[in-house]
C-alpha cells in the first residue's frame, strides 16, 4: 500500500472529488496561490484554476454562507476556515443557517456543504489559534462532525463528507499533517458514523480522537509492558456517533478512558462517558476516566501550553487508575 501524509491525503481527497464532479469547488482564505496556511491545498489552483479554487476575503460569515447558498443551489462546495478558532465568526451561519435550512423548510432543501478547518496545540500559537471546539458543533442537530486521525481515514472520510447531503464540519489537526500512513491504492470512501478499532485489547478501552489517538496508542504500548491490555477505538465521526462499536468494546474490557485534546470539562468525552455508563453500566468495573485539556485557555509560553494539553503519560495514568494500579 502506498504511503501518504495526512496533509497529502486531504489534498488527494479534494482533488479526486473535484476531478469526479464539476459541482465540487473549494474556497477559503489564502488557499489558492499560497496553498492554504497549512499547505493543504497546494497545487489545486494549477490543476483546477481560479474559478474552482477560490481565494476569499477575510470574511468567515460570507465564506460559510456563500457555501450554504451554493450548496442549496445544487453544488457541493468545500469551504476552508483557516483556524478553527475562526469558526466562531461563522457560527451564526453554521448553527442557524446550514444546520436548520432542511428542517425549517420541512425537508424541501438540502445543504451538501463541507466546512474544513484545523487547529490544535503544539506550536504555541496562543489562545486564539489553537483551540479544539468540536464540542460546540456536536451539540447542534442538523450538523455532522468528523475528526479523523490517520491519513487513510482522513482521505476516505473527507470524500464521504463532500458527498454527504448534509452540512459537515470536518476537523483536521495541525500536528497530524506531517504524519505518514498507509492508504489504499484507490481512494475508498469511509462511511460517516463508523468507529474504528485501532488496537485490540482486553483490560481497558481508550476512546480517543485526533492526536489523542496516537498518544493513546503510545500509552497502550507502555501499558502493555506493565501487563495491561488496552483497546484503542477512534470514533472518527463524532456526529453521528457509532455508539454500538464503543459500547461493544467497553462490554468486552469492562473499563473505559475517554481522551481528547479539547478541554475536558463539558467536552465531547462527557457525552461518550454518559453513553457508556447508560448502555454498559452493569459491565463497568471502574469509573470512566476522562483525559483532556485543563480548564484554561492555551498559553503562549511552551511550558504552559504543554502543561494544559494532555499527553500519552496522562492517558497512561488514566488507564492505570481504571485497573487500580
Amino acid at each position: 500500500m502506498p504511503e501518504l501524509t495526512y496533509r497529502e491525503a486531504v489534498r488527494d481527497a479534494i482533488g479526486a472529488a473535484m476531478r469526479a464532479d464539476d459541482d465540487v469547488f473549494i474556497m477559503g482564505e489564502d488557499i489558492a496561490e499560497m496553498g492554504g496556511s497549512m499547505g493543504v491545498t497546494q497545487g489545486l489552483l494549477d490543476e483546477f484554476g481560479p474559478e474552482r479554487v477560490r481565494n476569499t476575503p477575510i470574511s468567515e460569515m460570507a465564506i460559510v454562507g456563500a457555501g450554504i447558498g451554493a450548496a442549496m443551489a445544487g453544488m457541493r462546495p468545500i469551504v476552508e476556515i483557516m483556524y478553527e478558532d475562526f469558526l466562531t465568526l461563522s457560527l451564526e451561519q453554521i448553527v442557524n443557517q446550514a444546520a436548520k435550512h432542511r428542517y425549517m423548510s420541512g425537508g424541501q432543501v438540502k445543504v451538501p456543504l463541507t466546512i474544513r478547518t484545523q487547529g490544535g496545540a503544539g506550536w504555541s500559537p496562543g489562545a486564539q489559534h489553537a483551540q479544539q471546539l468540536e464540542a460546540w458543533l456536536v451539540h447542534i442537530p442538523g450538523l455532522k462532525v468528523v475528526f479523523p486521525s490517520t491519513p487513510a481515514d482522513v482521505r476516505g472520510l473527507l470524500w464521504s463528507a463532500i458527498y454527504d447531503d448534509n452540512p459537515t464540519v470536518f476537523f483536521e489537526h495541525r500536528l497530524l499533517y506531517p504524519v505518514k500512513g498507509e492508504v489504499p491504492e484507490q481512494l475508498e470512501p469511509i462511511p460517516l458514523g463508523k468507529a474504528r478499532v485501532l488496537r485490540e485489547g482486553t483490560d481497558v478501552t481508550v476512546i480517543a480522537t485526533g492526536p489523542l489517538v496516537h498518544r493513546s496508542l503510545d500509552a497502550a504500548k507502555a501499558a502493555d509492558e506493565e501487563g495491561i491490555s488496552v483497546e484503542v477505538v477512534d470514533p472518527r465521526t463524532l456526529q453521528p456517533l457509532d455508539e454500538e462499536t464503543l459500547v461493544a468494546s467497553v462490554k468486552k474490557t469492562n473499563r473505559a478512558v475517554v481522551a481528547h485534546e479539547a478541554v475536558t470539562r463539558m467536552g465531547f468525552g462527557a457525552e461518550v462517558a454518559a453513553v457508556l455508563q447508560h448502555e454498559a453500566f452493569d459491565w463497568l468495573d471502574a469509573p470512566i476516566e476522562r483525559v483532556g485539556a485543563k480548564f484554561a485557555p492555551l498559553a503562549f509560553a511552551p511550558v504552559m501550553e504543554q502543561y494544559v494539553v494532555p499527553h500519552a503519560e496522562d492517558v497512561l495514568a488514566a488507564i492505570r487508575r481504571t485497573v487500580g494500579t
Binding site: G65, G69, A73, N96, R102
Partner: protein, 323 residues
Amino acid sequence: MAKVEKTREATGETLREFLRDMLLIRRFEEKVEERFRAGELPGFLHVAIGQEAVAVGVCQAMDDGDIFASTHRAHGHTLARGTHPNAVMAELYGKVEGCCHGYGGSMHLYDVERGNYGANAVIGGGLPAVTGAGLAFKLRDEPRVAVAFFGDGATNIGTFHESLNLAQLWKTKTVFVCENNHWAESTPGWQHSPVWDDMSKRALAYDMRSLKVDGQDVQAVYEAALEALDFARSGEGPMFLDVETYRMHGHYIGDPQVYRTREDRDDAARHDPINRLRERLGLGDDEFGALDDEAQRAVEEALEFAQNATDPQPDDALKNVYA
C-alpha cells in the same frame, strides 16, 4: 397569483394584476393580524402592511428559475411569488398542509418549487447564501438570479457587508433589495445608520451599481427590478435596489409603537401603495370593490383551509433533521 406577461413597462392589465396581488397580500395580513390577536396563531408574527408594492414589483419581475431569500416579514414575498394562500395560511397555523409542513412558521417560509429558499429570522442571515447561490449560477453558467430581501436594519450587520463585498468582487448573479422602511424594530433610521436616508451609499462603498426606487409605486419597483435582474443575469455583476417604503403597522403584532409619533404613522398611511395604484388605474368603487372582494374571498378560503388542516404528529419533530 397571476402570471404576468413580462414587458419592459407595466401598464393596463399588468398593473391591474399587480393590484390583485397587492390586495391579496393586504387582506391576508389583515386577517392573520386579526387571528393572531384572537390567540389562534402560535409564535411571532410580523406584517409588512404598506410594503406590498415592493414584494409584488420585485417578485413579478423574477423569472421562473430565479430564487430569493426573505426576512421575518415574509408573507408578501411568498404570496407574490405564487405560493398558494392556503399553503401559507396553513403554515402560519403550524399545519401539515403548510408550505413547510409546520416546521417553519411565519418567520421561516420556504417554497423551493417557486424559488423561495427561505425566510430568515436572523437579520441579514440569508444574505451570504444568496451571494453563494448567485455564485453557483455564475459557475454553472445558468441564466438565473438570486434575490435577497432585507430591511434597512440589516445594513449594519456583518453579513450584509461581507456579502456585498463578496458579490461585487466575484460578480455574482445576485440582486440585493433593501426594503428601507426607516425602522429597525423600534429604532428609527437616523438612530441606526449615518446613511439612513440614502442606503445606496452602502452599495457605492462596494462599487456596486444601485438604483433608488420609490417603493410605494409598484410600476417603478417592477421596472427597476427588471433592470437589476437583467443586469445580474448577464453576469456583469450584482445590483442593489434602495427601495424607499413605509411600514404602516408596528414591528410585530401587538406592538404598541410607543416609540412612534402619530404624525409618522399618519404619514405612512398617506403613502399607501394600494391607494396610489388604484388612483393611477382610475378605478371607481365598484371596480375596486370587485377586486377587493375577490381578495377577501381568497383569504377567507385560506383561513377555512388552515383552520381545518391537520396537526403534525408530535414525533414528526424528529424528521427532516438530516437529509
